[in-house]
């Protein structure tokens, strides 16, 4: 099952239309979409507007691959589960997001080898046609460790010890 998700904020009709057309052209029946509140309704894919967190996790775990916006929640979920993921950045110039951070996120995460990215509709369709070849990477750990965690910990306990004196 391929899970398509647009995130918990605004819909992503530009992406949904390409995916829907691809589903129609290929006759694929193994796709499920979360289209967002008020999102454009696909003609060839079963969909819901919104998924409760527990349902979202379940769908994610069961998916063979994920297609989505370049939101950190979606990307991190895919990495946690080791799922192959293809993302397209939402863009502020199209009113899809508050700012252009998704484009930057996508570029950086792609450079880290974590996600596959289609930056426009043409690229998206091209990558969809090759979707079954998409690879996931090793799942990341459930919790972060390393410098950031240590830094926060040190701040919490250093201050605590100071105040106890």
């Amino acid at each position: 099952m391929i899970l398509v998700t647009v995130g918990t904020d605004l819909p992503f009709d530009r992406m949904m239309k390409i995916v829907d057309r691809w589903a129609g052209d290929t006759g694929r029946r193994d796709i499920f979409a979360q289209i967002g509140e008020g999102g454009w309704r696909p003609k060839h894919i079963p969909f819901v507007e919104f998924l409760e967190p527990a349902e979202f996790k379940k769908r994610f775990a069961e998916a063979s691959l994920v297609i989505g916006h370049a939101g950190m929640g979606t990307i991190l979920s895919a990495l946690l589960h080791g799922k192959p993921i293809l993302v397209m950045p939402k863009m502020a110039i199209y009113g899809e997001h508050r700012n252009e951070h998704q484009t930057a996120t996508a570029k950086r995460m792609m450079a880290l080898g974590n996600v596959n990215v289609a930056f426009d509709e043409i690229e998206l369709r091209a990558k969809l046609d090759l979707i079954d070849e998409l690879q996931g990477r090793e799942p990341i750990e459930v919790h972060a460790s390393g410098g950031l965690v240590e830094g926060i910990r040190e701040f919490i306990f250093h201050g605590w010890n100071e105040n106890c004196r």
Binding site: L76, T105, K107, L112, L148, I152, F157
Partner: protein, 152 residues
């Protein structure tokens, strides 16, 4: 008030902000942790740890902002944490500013999604925090956020 261990309020909006906050869990080992976010559906993410729902801050609605700030203020007053840790966005910012007024120490972890530059709101929030962190090394500044790593 004597406590045997530090109390941490870990607060974030839903979606990517919440996912990142949860990944920081190991930082809170040995602490009493209170989690807060805007959706009841996330309760199962924290197991048996203390969990509160706060009113989400809706940017386009002034009344919503006031209600959000009030719900966070009530939570801070009730729990009296030693430290507030937040990954944003707006509810985290409120927790930061209100916490500071109450003498609580604060940590702002800028989202890993801010990969090219700091967001204006992130900079505004971060500069108020006692510890301001970015998750990208190239964004660290001497008078700005520190970089110590990321949530991956």
């Amino acid at each position: 008030m004597s406590r045997s261990k530090p109390k941490v309020l870990a607060i974030a909006s839903g979606g990517g902000h919440w996912v990142q906050l949860l990944r920081l869990r190991l930082a809170f080992e040995g602490c009493d942790v209170v989690y807060a976010t805007a959706k009841e559906g996330y309760r199962s993410d924290v197991g048996c740890a203390s969990f509160h729902v706060i009113v989400d801050a809706n940017r386009s609605n002034k009344i919503g902002l006031v209600r959000s700030a009030w719900s966070i203020f009530s939570l801070l007053r009730k729990e009296r944490p030693d430290v507030v840790v937040t990954t944003g966005a707006a509810p985290g910012f409120f927790a930061l500013k209100l916490g500071k007024l109450m003498g609580i120490r604060t940590v702002w972890v800028d989202s890993i999604a801010n990969a090219e530059e700091l967001s204006l709101s992130g900079a505004k929030a971060g500069s108020c925090a006692d510890l301001w962190l970015t998750q990208w090394a190239h964004l660290a500044r001497e008078d700005g956020p520190q970089w110590k790593g990321n949530v991956l």
